[in-house]
Symmetry: C2
Subunit: 240 residues, 2 copies
């Protein structure tokens, strides 16, 4: 499984992705699920993936290859809407290429993607691309999207994230959401990839990987766990 | 859908159940999902239900009827283990009675039950009865069980509940877990039924219903929401 979350805020975009993949609980590996595509000038794109690993790896490989080889590619399309449609189309092509009903053995080739970024001339935008290749866009009412094992980590996002949440607070909330999911579900785990995109920067440099030994993450985990327990001691009791 | 949680603690048992049922999102009703069976002397049982409403209503009706009519019934069985087996057997009988493959129209008749309580001679015990009629028991390592739409509300239970959590704190945690689920999922909603069973009391009187206007619940919701946001402002930042 996988858990990824992306948020669209007034000041930019925030991304958090785990890196665990599994085919059954006895076949667990670590693969990066956060990918960036940018030229530093007018195109800055971040892609998060969940679902069939063969499909998502092919998507990323062919997106990169086309930047080198094709005229129409992620760095030439004029709008984030066109980027989402382009990636959705590529997803369908790959799934069609790899679908052979006699040999499928019931394997689901589908995947879900989060695409966030900015192209000069537009504000930053965030899309969720479905396994069918169609897509929806985040709005002020729904400033975040999740893919993969999303339920455990949703309540804290529902309580904290609004369009005006500062980027750094949103990152903290994304990490708590991820930590709750890791605690409750074996198939989501560290290391994490995180990225903050500041509006109009066209820079994808504010990114790093968080390992199980990351001191800042461990400090956050501890402060949250202690803070929650301490908060519980102050909550009003329900009489019975 | 439904969300119910039950906890087995050193001092007794705690139960929280919502009351929303739905057959599709356009057919929503309110039905009680918490049922008690006791004689005030040596048998005190609480049953929480999720799943097919026709099946769970039949189970409760026949359990009550058998207390009046049958020699072997919930008030005469000598152990909670026997009670769980007895209810699981009844569940299978009802599902078999109502299963007619030609007429099923794909409806799932299955249900899940939480059974907690105490019979004199034993400590309080808590069981999860599966749709197959078999069952598992809560232990010190796993002091709570959930049925229905359980993922949204699991992280807070994972962080707070241990076997030594006081009953009143556990109730508060169950209510927060329920509130998180209500906020994230339309098919779970108030009113709630709550019950605290104090070890060796054989009393099922510490129970009440919490409506949408319940002042204590509203105060708890507010204190939790504000406390979480205030805690966020104190959390250490992750540098990028």
């Amino acid at each position: 499984m996988t858990y990824c979350v992306a948020m669209k805020l007034a000041d930019g975009l925030v991304f958090v992705a785990d890196s665990r993949t599994n085919a059954g609980v006895d076949n667990i590996s670590t693969f990066r699920k956060l990918f960036t595509f940018g030229n530093g000038r007018d195109h800055a794109l971040v892609l998060l993936s969940a679902g069939n690993l063969a499909t998502t790896q092919s998507i990323v490989e062919l997106l990169k290859r086309r930047i080198e080889e094709a005229e129409e590619n992620l760095m030439t399309l004029p709008s984030m809407y066109d980027e989402a449609a382009y990636i959705g189309r590529l997803m369908r092509e790959i799934i069609e290429r790899d679908t052979h009903p006699q040999q499928s053995q019931g394997v689901d080739l589908g995947c879900s993607l989060l695409l966030g970024g900015q192209i000069r001339g537009e504000a930053p935008r965030l899309f969720l691309i479905y396994p069918q290749g169609n897509f929806i866009e985040a709005s002020a009412e729904t400033p975040f999207f999740q893919i993969g094992e999303f339920k455990y980590g949703k309540p804290i996002l529902d309580r904290i994230i609004t369009p005006n949440t500062p980027l750094e607070t949103a990152l903290t909330c994304g990490l708590i959401s991820m930590d709750s999911t890791i605690k409750s579900n074996l198939t989501v785990d560290l290391p994490l990839d995180i990225l903050i995109y500041n509006k109009d920067s066209y820079s994808l440099e504010r990114t790093r990987q968080i390992s199980a030994e990351d001191e800042q993450f461990l400090a956050l985990r501890k402060a949250w766990g202690e803070g929650i327990r301490e908060l519980f001691n102050r909550l009003p009791r329900t009489e019975l």
